[in-house]
Symmetry: C2
Subunit: 463 residues, 2 copies
Amino acid sequence: MNDRVIAHLLSRHDDILDWLTHFLTIPSVSADPAYAAGMQQARELLVGRLGDIGLNEVQLLDGGGQAAVYGEWMGAPGKPTIIIYGHYDVQPADPLDQWISPPFEPTIRDGCLYARGSSDVKGSTTIALETVAAFLAVEGGCPINIKVFLEGEEETGSPSLRAIVNKYCSLLQADAVLSADGGRASRVVPTINTGARGNNKLGFSVRTAALDLHSGRYGGAVRNALHEMATLVASLHDSQGRVAVKDFDIDATPLTERQIADTAAFPFDAAAFFSDVGAHSHGDPAYNTREQLTLRPALDINGMWGGYTGPGSKTVVASEAHAKLSVRIVPGQDPARVIEAVRAHLKAHCPAGVTLSFQNIGGGSPASTLAADHPLVLGAEQVLHAETGQRPIHVRLGATVPITAIFKEMLGIDTLMFGFNLPDEPVHAPNEFFRIESIAKGLRAWPLLLRELAKYEPADFHR
Amino acid sequence: MNDRVIAHLLSRHDDILDWLTHFLTIPSVSADPAYAAGMQQARELLVGRLGDIGLNEVQLLDGGGQAAVYGEWMGAPGKPTIIIYGHYDVQPADPLDQWISPPFEPTIRDGCLYARGSSDVKGSTTIALETVAAFLAVEGGCPINIKVFLEGEEETGSPSLRAIVNKYCSLLQADAVLSADGGRASRVVPTINTGARGNNKLGFSVRTAALDLHSGRYGGAVRNALHEMATLVASLHDSQGRVAVKDFDIDATPLTERQIADTAAFPFDAAAFFSDVGAHSHGDPAYNTREQLTLRPALDINGMWGGYTGPGSKTVVASEAHAKLSVRIVPGQDPARVIEAVRAHLKAHCPAGVTLSFQNIGGGSPASTLAADHPLVLGAEQVLHAETGQRPIHVRLGATVPITAIFKEMLGIDTLMFGFNLPDEPVHAPNEFFRIESIAKGLRAWPLLLRELAKYEPADFHR
């Protein structure tokens, strides 16, 4: 191959790594208002960068939450227009004491770049931006029209994304989306993500008294909010790990033969998958692990707390307890309807004398699916086959990329996830890292894919 | 009555209230090392006060934990020697945001003194100290020999109390203990505490993976530490509130006819008891509320936490979860054996794939019992009858005063709880208060009781 754009990108590898390292020093935690300055700093960095590389219409798209960063290059009339999606926000970094190096002080160890957001998803976002920059620098233009859209609230479930898309829908007209989020499924075989689970969230609390009570004066004669919370949470699953909520999966599309076959074709080492993180297989025994993770819905409590949690002891009967939960959902399921089933279950299991309340935590997204003969899939197959010599395997993602479903619903366009992160990089956990070797892989594949997509008519993306 | 000591005390009422108010500004939280300075400041205040009022041998009794404050007046040869017990440590004040006035800024509202430690037990401790001060000031001596012993770790289960008693056992030789801790059971009828439940504590944790996992990548195929913790906690009680731990109450002495009759004689408004704190009756249906609270063991989770508990959401599968529990135990039960039954239950209910670990939280105490014809009981009956015109009712305390059991075991002496706090004062909770009217009641009763006890021979206390 003798691609001048790729050659230019690979010659800039270390500069790109430096820029990414700087990007990672910015604590852009969208979930916690304490990091508002970090969010602002990330937006300023990106606005500057998009302008520097030669994009037009560079601006913030504000929908009332964390604004998205936008810029476009529309110099290829008649060619497809592709939204390049990434996000600049990151998960909270706690528990801080479990990080070997601080989350916002990027550190390289053993070929891996450790920092909050390195894998999810500043690394792959940087690859996408640099690809566009290289086309403009080397060839003076891109093979297709480009609209860069960098979201600021992916990690909080994209609460204002619908408002942004609604407000800027004419600006965002395009033929498809290429997402830097949603990474590779395997380090050893090429894969193409043809869909993702959706999600939704719910907070709930129980109250059993007006105030915390002395366990010597009330213990044995009153309800304890912690006992009640435990009983409610325990009721959500059976002993094998099946979700025990009535109608939880009633709308879930049954697995197809193709899905079962694709799943079986994926070289998955279940023993390593679990032992790598010190966990054990647990879940609905009617499905294998990959099916559980990508084709079946799930419900997890993400946080639970109440009573005295400090040093030593405090002998209280707790009067309140709290929990946050999230669901992962599959094609056929409606995010609101699934949460409603969970609420109904909790209400039905809440005894008299216990006050149950709910807290809304951002909006959910349905699952997404990309057709097997879509130009995005065909283009990615061509690129990955050429780069690896192997036929890519179709997989679905267990995690959620809300933009995929929202862009489909509101703009009528499909998304290909083409990130270069890998599943063993501990995103949403301490010591998140991104493999440095993935940068070069991405810098080769992204330009090729943009060239492939230029071979199609805009209408091909809308069949 | 024309008691010059009582008259002196009542004339000093406002000075005593001022001193108590100052005492309450000191944040002497024993459970949290962050309050070490407050503990030290409380000790210095008390050492100074004991010296000022004329006690001898004023000193700190250090057993390797929070030192106790000691002082004595031994000028009544042949008369009984009584340890006056109180404690200067207080419970942690959180949740801070629920306090109407800050916990360490004492504030009077509607005849009540609001502050952490006001009811438990700096108020009653001050009454006891001022009684001794008044005898020395007015009469130049007390009717009995006095050893003041003010503990610094009552709220953490008295972990070094045994070491202190062992180290200073010759200094602490006495005929009985009068405790400022363990208050009145009713505002309307006089009561005598003839015993208290014991207690013990246990911390435990579960781990399901080496690190927190992304719920999109692992949700539905691995165990979640929060689900496992909930299931374990839920298993500790049945749906009616009975403790479901095997052998939990196997050693508990069955209720006697006298206990059942005493309990029935106590004018207890169960509806008000529950509605005052916004709670509902819940517990072993074989016993009524007062029996549940004072004559039967109980188990409460005091704190439970894990996963993401901050603002917004974080879609993790939690890898660890934690809980603290305490038990209240009755005569016949051994604190260690009860906790061992709980540990055995948790181990038996912990599934494969979940790592269960335990944390020791301070030492427990057995329940205590005071004989109905003990001079402490007879003396208190005489005083309370004279002061109120009513025959005192014998009650047991649901809470735990570890010193009672420890002094019985190590020094062979009995304890009368003679505090003046009331059960509706929210100790161990936000907005703890002490009724200011209780100060005058205590300042009348304590001198009378010291005079009553002087009528007995030392040997009468040891029958």
